[in-house]
Symmetry: C2
Subunit: 493 residues, 2 copies
């Protein structure tokens, strides 16, 4: 089929351009000189316009129509390619170019404003940007269209087929069990008392150990790098160029779990089959499945006793002043302590999904016009008091803590909870494959885990839609009970 | 004029895209994971094609024709804009898109091959790439056209109006005087004995001091950054984003003069008037004038006694083990020692232009087909023996030392010598403006020098063609005698 050849060429060009955009954004957050922010915003806007024009090219629509008509004769991968390109084409053609350029320019300008607002704990200076982003997100939903409510349109951007109703149901299934568990556990330790350190961490040592952790779980530094940014993230600049970032604080072990989390995302991308390169299939299939991999490495593996059985010696060697006099079991107990706090990325596994629930409710209210941006900090702080029993001390530690809204990523947060549920379900499937999983981790054979994940998930990229992939891997649709079982086993003991 | 408005919009879009290309290249040399080189080459090729199609858009030609017709009514800057865009349009339309994409892809692939060949001292592994680059450079010259010989077409790319004949004449004017000076001085010290160090330099300290030097001469770190790469370079990712790179070796002071050299380039770009932003005028006018500024800061200022009168204390503080027991005068004598060696970027001011002369003759011979790539190392080594009395110990220290050919930049080297001549002529003009120039430098008032240069040169960007600019600043066309006078004063004493 000739149209497939031309489709593949167009896919390759678009893949290159998306990677160029990813570089512009990575560099903006990791390298950009302070005063260059406005001109970088112009560059991103110019590129966005060019990419958008290619994405909505009517010729692409014709090719897709021709390929779809003959799709019965196609192999699995080619059929998936047509399906994915059609989905992207539909999303793109619904957004006018002027809107895409304006939105890209807005979020690009908003990013340094958010960084500065957080630094100065000054929500008001970010509020006008955020109000514009909310308004544009609402317009985005209207352009994209939705069956039940505007928020559905945004959810579908990140997780194919996800709806507000389904997200509500997920939270419904875990809300009460989590609240009950939290009530039973939260008295264990006073917040902040979790990890008194004899000495502050030295940044150079943190960087070295974070690199070591990534290498240990199988991150390939010949095909990626780790740098510093205000907020840890992971991005792909190409099949052989996965970039993760981390942040380092003298008084926090957060960098360990950020490395494992972002490393989990990067392992997924590094594990995609090379044959899929320069197609839109050459990437993780959805944010939810992606998050299942980051949380699997960060929490299910990275906070387990067997994992630290293997790594604790190296940790003590890297930070003798901090951990030299601590038993491994005490360390593992401490990194699993349940003590609700204001920061999502530092949250324990029991309270984490309540952080997400708050964001879900608030961004939906913002989008529906039920909440004004000016009232957001108060609403945020109130929910933290009610749901988590946490008094938020400042907007920097509260509503300004996450980068997502500055990025214009409304509808993104719920995929974190989907990821936690899927991670537990996938790990259950791994444990059936490897009944000696604890011994596997304890001897540091992470290659065995990675091998299974690559075969089951990573290698397929976006060939199978997220629901279908989960069914293939676990034999079931997404269930909340594996996550609740996992927490019960861990924290019930 | 409506066509001017549309021209300005197109200029802004092209400026953004050129800066995106600059980022792709900067990142390739500073950040890129090893195995990502091939995919980066594809990304650069894809972008090159897109940029090229915009550069050769017939509508752009129509707008330029309309603007040129009415150019008498234009202000100086607008007339310059039309002139510069016309020159760029002419260059671009002469090169077919397929050629541009192929050349960009080739040089992008060649870069890591060169890095590896230099590391392993293995010219043969780079030779096939170089042969392809020579062939494509020759085709480039044929596409561009020339009056006298192919090399003229490539020279004009970097220095408007420059010809092989004129370059030959320049070298003619300095060849004998330099040879005579070298013969009289080279016996002063045995090569390699120039700077015996008590202790190797620590890289972290080198980086800190290089940053300090840049800050001292007025490099604005809010509008730029300094990183590490295999070969020092300077590039602009936007008017407020100048990036210089440096390299650091435990046994070499090279980093000091690389910082001043690349810093000189960056000061030029940081000094361009903000009103010129997002036009092709918002950059230094030619490589020769650019090099005059890097060499002025590196050599005329950076190797002068008054400069070190101001800086030597900080140097000693940064490197007490190396310089603690050395007198400032001895240090300055050592950094000005004349001792011909194999490496261009480490060459003293007397022999430097002979290094350039060798490259000029060899690349012209390659281009004309008078020299085969396989014979290049032997020809290189022979000329070094004859002209500089230097025995080249390895290809890594010889023919593989420079990045330029891997970049496909034939015709670039001669601008280094033009820059040296112009630097001396411009410094003479500065000394007329500031008769107390030695005292100015000795008290560290580099802002005074930078202010004059900004007013005379930097601020104008590419508004005046290089020859006209030099005439405005110095009252004369380019002369070799100021450079010879400068060397005579310095080394005759």
């Amino acid at each position: 089929m000739e149209c497939m050849q031309e489709l593949r060429e167009r896919a390759a060009e678009l893949a290159d351009l998306h990677h160029v955009m990813a570089l512009l954004q990575w560099d903006q957050e990791v390298m950009l000189p302070r005063r260059a922010a406005p001109e970088r915003a112009e560059q991103i806007a110019t590129m966005s316009g060019i990419v958008h024009r290619k994405e909505v090219d009517p010729r692409l629509g014709e090719l897709l129509a021709a390929a779809t008509e003959q799709s019965e004769g196609l192999e699995v991968v080619e059929r998936a390619l047509v399906r994915k390109m059609q989905r992207d084409f539909d999303h793109s053609t619904k957004l006018p170019e002027s809107f895409v350029v304006e939105f890209a320019s807005l979020t690009s300008r908003a990013l340094p404003v958010w960084v500065e607002a957080r630094r100065r704990d000054d929500f008001a200076s970010f509020a006008p940007c955020l109000a514009q982003i909310v308004a544009m997100s609402r317009r985005q939903a209207d352009f994209l269209g939705y069956a039940a409510e505007p928020y559905d349109a945004l959810l579908d951007l990140y997780e194919e087929g996800l709806t507000t109703a389904r997200v509500g149901a997920c939270f419904g299934a875990i809300r009460e069990p989590l609240a009950a568990m939290l009530a039973g556990l939260a008295g264990d330790a006073a917040p902040g008392a979790a990890m008194p350190l004899a000495e502050p961490f030295r940044v150079e040592e943190q960087i070295r150990f974070a690199d070591r952790l990534l290498a240990m779980i199988g991150f390939d530094f010949n095909r990626g790098r780790q740098d510093r940014s205000a907020h840890p993230f992971s991005t792909g600049l190409g099949g052989n160029d996965q970039r993760v970032t981390n942040r380092y604080r003298a008084d926090s072990m957060e960098f360990i779990f950020s490395a494992l989390h972002e490393g989990g995302h990067a392992l997924y991308e590094q594990g995609v089959a090379p044959e899929l390169a320069r197609t839109p299939l050459a990437s993780g299939v959805s944010l939810g499945i992606h998050e299942s991999q980051s949380r699997l490495w960060e929490n299910i593996i990275g906070r387990s006793l067997p994992f630290w059985h293997h790594c604790f010696g190296e940790l003590v060697q890297a930070f003798p002043a901090q951990f030299g006099s601590m038993a491994m079991e005490e360390f593992v107990a401490r990194i699993n302590m349940v003590h609700p706090g204001p920061i999502r990325v530092e949250a324990d596994e029991v309270s984490y999904n309540l952080h997400v629930l708050i964001r879900f409710e608030l961004e939906k209210a913002l989008l529906d016009g039920d909440l004004a941006v000016a009232d957001l900090p108060a609403a945020w702080n109130q929910r933290y008091r009610e749901l988590l029993g946490v008094k938020v001390g400042s907007d920097a530690q509260g509503v300004l803590q996450d980068i997502h809204w500055a990025h214009g990523s409304f509808g993104y947060f719920p995929t974190y909870t989907l990821g936690n549920l899927a991670a537990a379900q996938i790990w259950r499937a791994y444990c059936r494959f490897d009944p000696d999983h604890d011994a596997t981790l304890a001897r540091g054979d992470f290659g065995k885990v990675r091998g299974w994940l690559t075969e089951q998930i990573y290698g397929h990229g976006s060939v199978y839609p997220p629901g279908e992939l989960l069914l293939r891997v676990t034999g079931e649709e997404l269930q909340a009970r594996y996550f609740l079982d996992y927490l019960g086993n861990k924290f019930g003991a």
